[in-house]
Symmetry: C2
Subunit: 391 residues, 2 copies
């Protein structure tokens, strides 16, 4: 046990560009999968239940639900109290308070300036890092070879990280690293849960993952680019996911997400990984003859990441529906944030699994007394949808 | 419901200088109070139980406990898997991976440079904001008067925030704002829980709360200064709380806390708010005569903030003790973070309660179905210690 502690395991902070989680957010901890809108006529009861469980656990259930009541009461107390208190102040004091509020406007302006300067710094450092990312890509693909100096620097670091590290045999022959990005994504706990066996074949063609900041227009945001080699699944060479922040910085001085936009994937015939083809027998009541009907049903897939949920309309009133949607939005934003802040900057550590060891150390700090109960509390959802596949 | 969502209510990110929570961390949500080491011979069973509940809820219980088992299993799977995979790679590929690790070293250097530049920006903006903080202090104390321009700017903002805001009567008379900082602290949900009735009298003398960054020495950190007018409770004019970060930026590019140091409060006679005086009758077995014995027992008080828990020694093995200590450290770091990031920059909004409304909006988004159960699940701890006071 070192003196370094995870300072707050439950900080409900919105992910921001300066906010790199030490550990995965619980929503990315392998519990949940994004659910997909049901476009078939048939109502998929199982999936809605699952979505409800996820939504419940994330927005109101396990943690929040246990505290919300207490806190809401406390908030009501405090708000009621403070309003009355301010009302009761003599007008001379109220003028001083108004003066402070005038000064607060200037403080907020400075806070926004600070945020903009940090944002510019982020862009500057992405620019400085870009040549390193390009070099990384070249070595992975084999278009360039790692130099003796690079290998020596890596070996030195590996030795620092692990005293028992076995040095590589001398030699200069190098080879490309196959399945680099697939492996890196699979070593992120939350994302690995999104990747189905069928997705794996497509993700073997993922050759790079890149970050760009949005520079055109007033709206700040960033774009994740997934670069693919030609493959049997889709026509696109690059799949993009764009995250837009609100133009206005919020009360706390942070950007907040407005919405996300994904590339429309041009699937090749019968290769859409986000759909499952179900074959049903239909019997004609008059002739009593049967026929086979092919029905496409949305299914879990990493590639649903490119068809993100959209923020709820102002007039959405169904609380369950709203909670479900908010849970899916949270998950989508968190996955994007983790790819931007963790996987792209530390891809080799995700590939080797070193990044996981850091996560594991954080987890080891926690009690595990309740493991059995916890396992029982959540059902395996692999079998929620039982359909037959057309391959 | 707007399109702006709290992106992740449960992000387990360590608070960092760039990380301003949108809502309070659950540990600051009014559930917990810091417990104090028991220096009396008598074992205070009640307080230890309470500490255990807090620790459980925070580090392993409500949220973490529900997920830790699942995740730990998943981590073990992944780590085992990835290690074997890397071992099995041909040496030519391993050399390429080592090359990437060499490049990662350079990426990490850039990440650290970025962090240092942001840290310098923070200092710069604190410097730019300082004249505004000094002006605020002067208006609160009445040593300077709010100008007509400042009042007008504040009124304009109040009108923007609330369409029904009643404009102040015309006039230029202004008066100091009594109990400004006490009220601001009481309007922070977590901190209000730390302030006892006895503390209130002392905190009425709190005239300013200031932030300084540490500039001497290699170790980064910050200092909170609580400035008091002369009072009946203690001799100190300023109570300080210093938070030290680890000199090395962590894997994720964030500062992590190393430890906190507080001012040794010079209490006046019988005025120590962190102690309660218990009077016990003792009966002499031989003479059968009774006498009164005065015993000082540590008690809950906001002023325990200046006697923070210290990180566990390397060899601490008792898991419950460790979990309890970590919970208290987390709470201490979170309170410091909230004072630095929320209360000092938005003091007038805490005074008026506006800051609470933002918190309340976040809470309103959550389901409240389980309120009753939740209230039942936690016992009121006001009566855990029943002792008689010497005033």
């Amino acid at each position: 046990m070192s003196g370094s502690l995870p300072i707050n395991q439950f900080d409900p902070t919105a992910p921001t560009p300066q906010n790199t989680p030490l550990t995965q957010a619980p929503i990315a901890l392998g519990l949940s999968r994004p659910t997909v809108p049901d476009i078939s006529e048939e109502h998929e009861e199982g999936m809605d239940d699952e979505a409800a469980v996820v939504a419940d656990a994330m927005t109101s259930g396990v943690m929040q639900g246990a505290l919300a009541g207490l806190v809401q009461n406390r908030l009501n107390d405090l708000i009621g109290k403070s309003s009355g208190y301010i009302e009761s102040l003599p007008v001379e004091v109220k003028r001083s308070v108004a003066g402070l509020q005038g000064i607060q406007v200037k403080q907020t302006e400075l806070q926004n300036q600070f945020k903009r300067e940090v944002w510019e710094l982020e862009k500057k450092y992405l620019g400085l890092t870009k040549p390193l990312y390009e070099r990384r890509h070249a070595i992975i693909s084999g278009s360039e070879k790692a130099t003796a100096e690079e290998i020596a620097a890596g070996e030195e670091q590996a030795k620092k990280d692990d005293e028992e590290h076995q040095p590589l045999p001398t030699g200069t022959e190098v080879a490309p690293i196959t399945d680099f990005w697939l492996t890196a994504l699979q070593n992120h706990i939350g994302i690995s849960e999104l990747i189905t066996d069928r997705d794996t074949a497509a993700l073997k063609n993922l050759t790079d993952v890149r970050l760009e900041y949005l520079t055109s227009g007033d709206q700040p945001g960033f774009k994740l680019l997934f670069v693919f080699s030609p493959n049997e699944f889709f026509e696109n060479e690059v799949l993009e996911k764009t995250y837009l922040y609100h133009a206005e910085i919020d009360y706390s001085g942070d950007f907040t997400y407005e919405r996300a936009i994904g590339t429309d994937i041009k699937w090749k015939d019968d290769k859409d990984l986000t759909k499952e083809i179900e074959i049903k027998k239909q019997r004609n009541k008059n002739t009593n003859r049967t026929r086979l009907v092919k029905k496409a049903t949305p299914t879990e897939s990493f590639f649903n990441f490119f068809n993100p949920p959209q923020p709820p309309p102002e007039d959405m009133e169904d609380e369950d529906e709203l909670a479900d949607l908010e849970a899916r939005l949270e998950l989508d934003y968190q996955i994007g944030e983790d790819i931007k802040e963790r996987i792209i900057p530390h891809a080799v550590d995700y590939f080797t699994g070193k990044a996981l060891e850091y996560d594991a150390e954080d987890m080891d700090d926690d009690d595990e007394d309740d493991d059995e109960d916890d396992d029982d509390a959540f059902e395996d959802d692999d079998d929620v949808c039982t359909v037959s596949f057309l391959r």
